[in-house]
Symmetry: C2
Subunit: 419 residues, 2 copies
């Protein structure tokens, strides 16, 4: 719409019938009146993803998929343990490890089409020819693993426990819990899905675990030279102030003390956060900016002009009010306002289509890593109590897992627990 | 597993506990025994997607998204008309057209963040900076459009009608029908989702239509130099014999006769096909090959050695039986066995996560284009009656739409119907 047809202070819902018909039905003039107000987006031919890139399963102290630059897609799945046998849990973790080591190289788990033509395929085959696509699969262990059932009670990571009830909780039982977790991330969703599917098949085959809940996530992460921050489905950049520096990983993410089996492990907190996007879309952008504390288009804090400007939480405007409201999301979550506390976030957008009242059903798969789950609870308690976002989101799924360090070459995830 | 540990004729489910523990728990030896049997996949650094590519909304006789080389992702959504006013339908189609023309250029639909800071955003913003990513949005019109309600009964495309009941039908009412359809395809799912979301928002804003059902699809389509055929979630290449040549488009896809408003239109048939992948995965690959009539890894017909070898449906083996069984999917669907009949298919994989009995819930979003819906019915009747795949699939969703030709520059989809 041009200024003449529809003043900028008139919300989209308030066009008159006549405006719209005149603007769009009469033809070329109508089309160009829309085009006139659009914000052009420069595109770059360098915005491409190299799908031959791979991340090794072995070789780092920590498991891949935490510090790894976020890939574009994820399938996250949790499992219930169905065995009471220590060896069956052991076999599952060992077979998962062997399979993950293959998958992250872009290889299949054994043969797709057996040479002698009368066998069942070891691999389901749908990711053949697709390359590694930066696949990582991160394995998490829930509370039930560390019980007398499996002779592992004495190895329970000291800070692993159920999360406490938080103010934003609206949990659906079928989207919570799990005794094991798999976070598969890749730059191709078919590669990530194939990994989760074939690992779920191994779980079924061993009889040790069954599927519990899952989320497929997407987003555009740090592609090309721009290294741009992906946007959530509320339209805002998400992750601008995420942990990047090694020192922060050492201080906030990795477990550094205790026995070897926990060092360079971490605690994984997973939340399925439903976003009421159709309500959000009726809100004025100035209000949305106040809710986040950032400008929607640039991602700059309201106190600044560029995305990575450090927010000034003390700055006041001509009216004497704080430029970034004290209840803005970035103010509540900032390390400056939480005794320096930081957590690592790996978030992906999801959609579940249309809900039973015809509204778009979508949100955020939030996965955080920290060396103490209390860090998440501290931040979420604060956000849940006064965050302006609460009107637009519900935490409907949740899980907490200990992510052990990477195994030494030739061993398997969690292997040192069984020694 | 090496030949020594697990003979190739032993299905994956039949490893002994001892095999597995010995193979994977003892360490390096175990891992390499898995690796030994894996099929290495060469990866290519040329396997990348240029996300700055765009497809024009105007300029071709037909709408984009039919002949356009398949993009990697789709969001397909249908809508129910909620208005009885001709002008409201007209406004919706005009506003959709104007918006689609912007979106396919990688631009927003009006401003994300209004200059004067107290308005509602015209565009929800989550695709800012993502480029056009080859976005196309194809608009379809259902039977209800062509009724006296809108003064369009006399323009009903002559072959538009409900599909007849087919042998493979297991329809869920909430996944069927719709009066309008949008097929958004792009090389980035966030770009495709953004398009559908903002077009659904326009529908709501006009009061003319409400959301009905939707499927998000993914796949790896013809990337890089390899132009490889994507695989479905049964692990098989899907689309090897699809329509490619202009002459076939002219003969089978485009409507060529009648008034101008239908020429270079087409009929769109949409099926949500659930695949029982966990059952499939327990089948021997030799049986799977017989079901498709192709080799799983190479995609070659069982009568040949390379993917694009022409199938020989008469060839017999040493035992006197047909090499490609008469009931194989490619035999039943082949134009050679259907009086030359062909349809254009644009299929994508989907997953709905885990079903209520803990099984992976996934399948194929099948969209075909043809100048007579009877072509689809003819092929599907044959497939539904004797296709070996029927044990593993259920058609749970369905829709049929007339896709009008592209509008002339400055007009809108379906515009000539209202003259």
């Amino acid at each position: 719409m041009s200024e003449k047809d529809a003043p900028a202070d008139k919300p989209a819902g308030e066009f008159s019938r006549r405006d719209v018909i005149r603007g769009a039905v009469v033809g070329a003039l109508g089309i160009s009146s829309y085009a006139g107000a659009a914000q052009a987006v420069p595109s770059s031919s360098e915005d491409s993803v190299d799908l031959s890139r791979s991340h090794a399963f072995y070789g780092n102290a920590e498991q891949a998929g935490i510090r790894t630059p976020p890939q574009r897609y994820t399938f996250f799945m949790t499992f219930d343990l169905t065995t009471t046998q220590r060896t069956e849990l052991q076999v599952l973790l060992a077979r998962w490890s062997a399979a993950i080591a293959q998958l992250t190289k872009g290889q299949t788990i054994g043969q797709v089409e057996p040479v002698r033509d009368y066998g069942v395929g070891f691999d389901t085959g749908e990711a053949l020819d697709l390359g590694p696509a930066s696949l990582t699969v991160t394995v998490g262990l829930g509370l039930k693993v560390f019980t007398d059932t499996y002779g592992l009670a004495q190895h329970k990571p000291p800070l692993l426990r159920e999360l406490k009830q938080l103010p934003s909780d609206a949990m659906k039982p079928e989207l919570t819990g799990g005794d094991l977790s798999l976070q598969a991330c890749a730059d191709d969703p078919q590669v990530a899905y194939h990994a989760i599917r074939d690992l779920a098949r191994i779980a079924k085959d061993t009889g040790a675990a069954s599927t519990r809940w899952t989320v497929m996530g997407f987003g555009r992460a740090s592609a090309g030279k721009g290294q741009s921050t992906p946007r959530n489905l509320l339209g805002y950049k998400d992750g601008t102030r995420n942990i990047m520096e090694t020192a922060d990983f050492e201080k906030f993410v990795w477990i550094k003390d205790g026995p070897a089996w926990q060092r360079y492990g971490s605690y994984q907190v997973v939340r399925k956060i439903q976003m009421h996007i159709e309500n959000w879309d009726t809100d004025r952008v100035s209000n949305q900016n106040d809710v986040f504390g950032r400008h929607k288009v640039s991602g700059a804090p309201l106190s600044g002009v560029k995305e990575f400007d450090t927010p000034d939480f003390q700055k006041t405007g001509a009216d004497g009010n704080l430029v970034i409201p004290a209840t803005a999301h970035i103010a509540l979550a900032a390390h400056e306002n939480n005794n320096g506390l930081k957590i690592l976030r790996r978030s992906y957008n999801y959609t579940d289509g249309i809900n039973n009242v015809g509204l778009l059903d979508a949100g955020l798969l939030f996965i955080s890593y920290q060396n103490d789950p209390a860090a998440f609870e501290t931040l979420q308690t604060k956000l849940g109590a006064s965050d302006g976002l609460n009107e637009y989101i519900s935490h409907i799924g949740s899980g907490i897992f200990f992510v052990p360090p990477a195994p030494p070459v030739g061993s398997y995830i969690g292997g040192s627990l069984f020694v």
